[in-house]
Symmetry: C2
Subunit: 328 residues, 2 copies
């Protein structure tokens, strides 16, 4: 089957691409053509000559239609402007995160009307759809009260995904990702970046800044889990999910203090001493409104799993990003 | 102050217009210019020569900007395609109920950027944002799982209203209306129409069709209450509401059987005998997914009230629509 990854140049998109190329199939069905799309042409994985790479702007007239013309049976929609950037640039956030999603859905609907096309669309949503005050854990049936434009755009996209699925235009599955930790590479504009950098930088022997108290509790899963979520969502039987087509993904609820304890166990006191406490009121105010823990029973029943300790999350990072061992 | 009513030609819009013209003020502040807008020019109330009436299409380029040019301090956004029509005509529903709302919000934001304009925007949302399975009553913090495109469009508009308010572009208040009963006049395309017609028609000595069993329970308020909700929402202090700017309105939870008992008490057995039971599977399947009762504690604390019996709802109809007494 043909597979399309939107937002393929992002961190999760690249990991998903590598996974699909390695597997060569999704749920036992061989992958024919794999198309990668992003604002800049995503890098092709080594040795994967049959992978197409495209620069696209989903919200621009014609771009979504062009992608849908090949009738990919499976589409991963990961394209998004992150929380910090959507907050800084109101127009860009709505354009990419809402108009882009809508253009994609409309292009699919037009194709559906033409020939009955109805792809599985896996949409990466976020716990940013929740906003304080929040119960702990957040129940499956808790309302969405986002306190960022990013969270608003994700909540709206979830509603569209469900309505287009109910009408039979797409076969959608939305997965509400925890904060992904440890993000490899350089920090992006996500305000949640420090959750990763306080582990990533010390593991690499470098200083990191912690802008919030160690008591802050948040909801995490590794990049490896995120990719596993996406692949599992691609294979799910829609009838098993039911009409509520968005699922809160499992994760690990941990305080910053617990993250640091895990770092101490894995990398020692020297690593922990690289974390500099520099309270930042603005970040603290934002983080206080975020999800500390989410009830993910529905997803768990459908087979989704995540890490159960921060030691495990750190080990995943060492295995997947640092070649299996810490730099000496 | 200048007031703009969008969707002023609809049933609630006309009643709100009459109320504002009669009051001459909102919360003690005299109304300067009152502008009525709808797809066809709304009727001007008798003797109100200073009322402007405009034909508009909010989703058409330039129309929202034209309305905002006069900088109305208070805007009622009642313009919508109803549930049945939004389900029949997917494009029209999204165009009017979502694109129209977005165009309005964007026009206001542009004006805000130009000169700090920030009107109170009262948005009429609906219990259609809820979808079965539903607890009874539906808690304030229950998630929105609409099972119609109309409900999806209302849920999305609520999210936009809250985000634009949070960013300071508007001063929004969303009110989630119960099913309005007894609707005067001819049936519209709302699938909920029978809740009104089984009372309205017999009260006028005419036959009505009941397509669902008498055990069906639903959530109601009179047109008079709906107008009172809108006027109260216009006057609320935003700080009292808090960041969750949409409020579930109070109402009356009643079964169809209880509606009929009230009809019997008010208009006698002869009226009840005018109700013909003609089960309609399609309507029954839709109605089963609707809200039977809603917890409206937040709105109640802010002073919103509704009828407490169907006898009262019928009396309101007789007073407001039938000149105070039943036809003999």
């Amino acid at each position: 089957m043909d597979v399309l990854i939107l937002g393929a140049a992002g961190m999760i998109g690249r990991k998903l691409t590598a996974r699909l190329v390695a597997d060569g199939n999704v749920g036992g069905r061989p992958i024919g053509r794999l198309t990668l799309a992003d604002v800049s042409p995503p890098p092709r994985p080594n040795g994967a000559d049959d992978v197409a790479s495209l620069a696209i702007d989903l919200a621009a007239p014609g771009d979504a239609e062009r992608l849908v013309a090949a009738r990919p049976e499976l589409i991963f929609q990961l394209a998004a402007v992150v929380s910090g950037e959507a907050e800084e640039d109101f127009d860009k956030g709505y354009r990419v995160n809402l108009d882009g999603m809508r253009a994609l859905l409309e292009a699919i609907r037009a194709a559906h009307t033409a020939d009955g096309y109805c792809p599985r669309l896996v949409f990466a949503s976020s716990i940013a759809v929740y906003g304080a005050p929040l119960p702990e854990p957040i129940p499956e049936d808790f309302h969405h009260t986002p306190l960022t434009s990013y969270g608003t755009q994700k909540a709206i996209s979830e509603l569209l995904l469900i309505d287009y699925t109910r009408r039979g235009f797409i076969d959608g599955v939305g997965i509400r990702l925890p904060t992904i930790c440890i993000r490899p590479g350089r920090p992006n504009k996500a305000a949640s970046g420090f959750f990763s950098s306080i582990l990533r930088e010390p593991l690499a022997g470098q200083e990191a800044v912690l802008p919030v108290p160690e008591t802050v509790r948040h909801w995490h899963a590794s990049p490896r889990s995120a990719v596993e979520f996406l692949v599992r969502a691609a294979r799910l039987d829609g009838r098993e999910i039911g009409p509520r087509r968005t699922l809160a993904m499992p994760g690990l609820s941990a305080t910053v203090g617990e993250q640091i304890e895990a770092l101490r166990r894995v990398a020692g006191e020297r690593a922990v001493r690289l974390i500099r406490h520099e309270p930042d009121e603005a970040i603290m105010r934002m983080v206080e409104t975020w999800a500390p823990a989410v009830d993910a029973q529905r997803a768990t029943r459908l087979g989704f799993t995540a890490e159960t300790s921060f030691d495990e999350i750190i080990r995943v990072h060492i295995e997947d990003e640092l070649g299996g061992s810490l730099p000496s």
